[in-house]
Symmetry: C2
Subunit: 347 residues, 2 copies
């Protein structure tokens, strides 16, 4: 059997021999995200922050359900055509996902990587398709501003002030359907496939500020990007863009510094979904957007658009996660980070 | 490329062409579990419920860290020899896992399937090894009685009464190291490998009682066991034991009834880790044990012992999870279940 693992000693990376093709992507976001600079790229913008639900958690589940169905519709598939669903979210015990996808009745692999979830779910789904374990698999995630604030910081009604390093949790969901070579791609433009992945390690610099997630996650992003470049012996310019998830403007500066220490200059082609998704002047979002939905919706809208239309040939997509809970934070623990890297290539 | 997916229409199952071998297992439990009927099978029994830690969550992390290291030691490996770690736990945002394994510096795939986590992590790790994506992978999980009560029900200090349908969360952790055929197995007796897996769907019967997890999870267990038997065209007697995770005595009765409705009689060879792990007369545990650690520690101790020693040829290991959070429960949501099935075979 042909081994797909990268042979470099200590490698964290996999190169696919049967690169899974993206059959469709879908993204559904809230009003604020729709008003931002990437608004035109989202499939649906919902004015109602409750998405017709009864609670913030229910709202997020309904948003995820709608996103999954839209991805199916765009690929002209039904849920029974999807072999496995790989998904997760930020809420404790993944309740947005459990209640969001249960009626689809697809065998579920629940994953948690904080805001790196879109990278993790895409990577696991890619392994399943590349390895012949699934003819089609869906990767999905979401986050909701109000649910995340309630879960991690303060209920909205408390009205606390947000420091300038704080990010704004994106209300959004993104879903990607991957398929093997037996599938036909229906969208126009370039086919996009997943070429390789690098699974990240937890990196903990001891940062304890839940209002400065960028600083918590930048070391993990730097670790996985550097590992990826070393594993495949690449220079940063190999990628049209190296796209992190939600470092925000504070985290971006730290990442670029850390990458310099690793011997790589990514200042020219680095982009962060959290910085792109809002206009900080007009939208009062301080350091930028965050949440699983930030990189997921940006991938499924803006990034996919640029790949399909041939504006970019390939990108390294690196969603970034901060591994904290309200309990660990209140007990004085640090906020470790994790990030996973996925190579997306237009063919 | 040879396809590993089961070709039956609507199949949820995978049969491995290069079945991963279990290189080692390790289990560390608390005092109560050590005093139970399976006490002799656990690797370590810790008298201190804090495991030398500062908080219940920290205690669980320290228990998991110790379990991972013990599994490495038993296989004469170091953490750098493990390509990927697949793990998770019950706590919100998987903090027991994040803080438990971060110092091992193994690329992490965080998973959440409530108490089905040992099944999910074993299944994903098996895919990685079978497919040639990892020469070695570790699957790990844990639960801690005090941390789980605090997270899901009432803090211990509240002193609430437990109804008879309630289970007792196991303080325990289990770790399995899987390897491909290039590895040498060091333990004596039969080699044990992972032959196939069936990923489960979420099944929601609308049960809303967080004190009756068995009733919430039994439909999911029934669904995945029936799917497994159908996918491979097997009768229940093919397995020496069909071992669910933590249905307890209430859930066991429901499972056997549901399986009869599916056309299968599993009453003769069904076993539930939650029923085996405590003595309900002496230990006041009511319906039985529960938690990710329940099936994980039972697998890594008692079940592996029986397979290695040739008492059993093959078992279907089916950890069962209840997908609730304190938030979803307090908002009046039902408690859906999920279960994943893993075929373990002595060769």
């Amino acid at each position: 059997m042909e081994k797909k693992l990268n042979k470099r000693k200590g490698s964290q990376s996999l190169e696919f021999t049967n690169p899974p093709v993206i059959l469709s992507t879908a993204c559904v976001v809230g009003k604020k995200e729709g008003e931002g600079p990437l608004g035109a790229y989202f499939d649906q913008i919902e004015e109602d922050p409750m998405f017709g639900g009864k609670t913030w958690e229910d709202a997020e589940s309904k948003m995820m359900f709608r996103t999954a169905n839209l991805a199916l519709k765009k690929a002209k598939l039904e849920s029974k055509n999807i072999r496995y669903l790989v998904g997760g979210d930020l809420l404790g015990q993944l309740i947005a996902t459990s209640f969001g996808v249960e009626s689809l009745e697809i065998p579920l692999i629940g994953v948690y990587g904080a805001c790196s979830t879109m990278g993790e779910s895409l990577a696991v789904a890619s392994v399943l398709v590349d390895g012949g374990y699934a003819d089609r698999a869906m990767a999905i995630t979401s986050s909701h501003f109000a649910g995340a604030e309630k879960q991690f910081r303060f209920p909205l009604a408390y009205g606390n002030q947000r420091p300038l390093a704080a990010t704004w949790t994106v209300t959004g969901s993104g879903a990607v359907i991957l398929g093997d070579e037996t599938n036909t791609v229906l969208y126009s433009g370039h086919k996009v496939h997943v070429r390789a992945v690098t699974f990240g390690k937890i990196v903990d610099y001891g940062v304890k500020d839940s209002m400065n997630m960028g600083a918590c996650m930048a070391p993990a992003a730097s670790s996985v990007i550097a590992a990826h470049l070393r594993d495949f012996n690449l220079i940063p310019a190999y990628y049209d863009k190296i796209v992190t998830g939600d470092l925000g403007s504070v985290g971006k500066d730290i990442l670029i510094d850390l990458m310099r220490q690793e011997g790589y200059d990514i200042s020219k082609n680095h982009m962060d979904c959290g910085i792109e998704i809002y206009d900080p002047e007009v939208q009062d979002t301080h350091s930028g957007g965050s949440g699983c939905g930030c990189s997921a919706a940006t991938l499924c809208g803006y990034l996919m658009n640029h790949l399909k239309e041939g504006k970019w040939k390939r990108i390294l997509f690196v969603p970034t996660g901060a591994l904290l809970s309200p309990v660990s934070f209140n007990e004085g623990q640090s906020v470790p980070g994790i990030a996973h890297a996925v190579v997306l290539e237009a063919v």
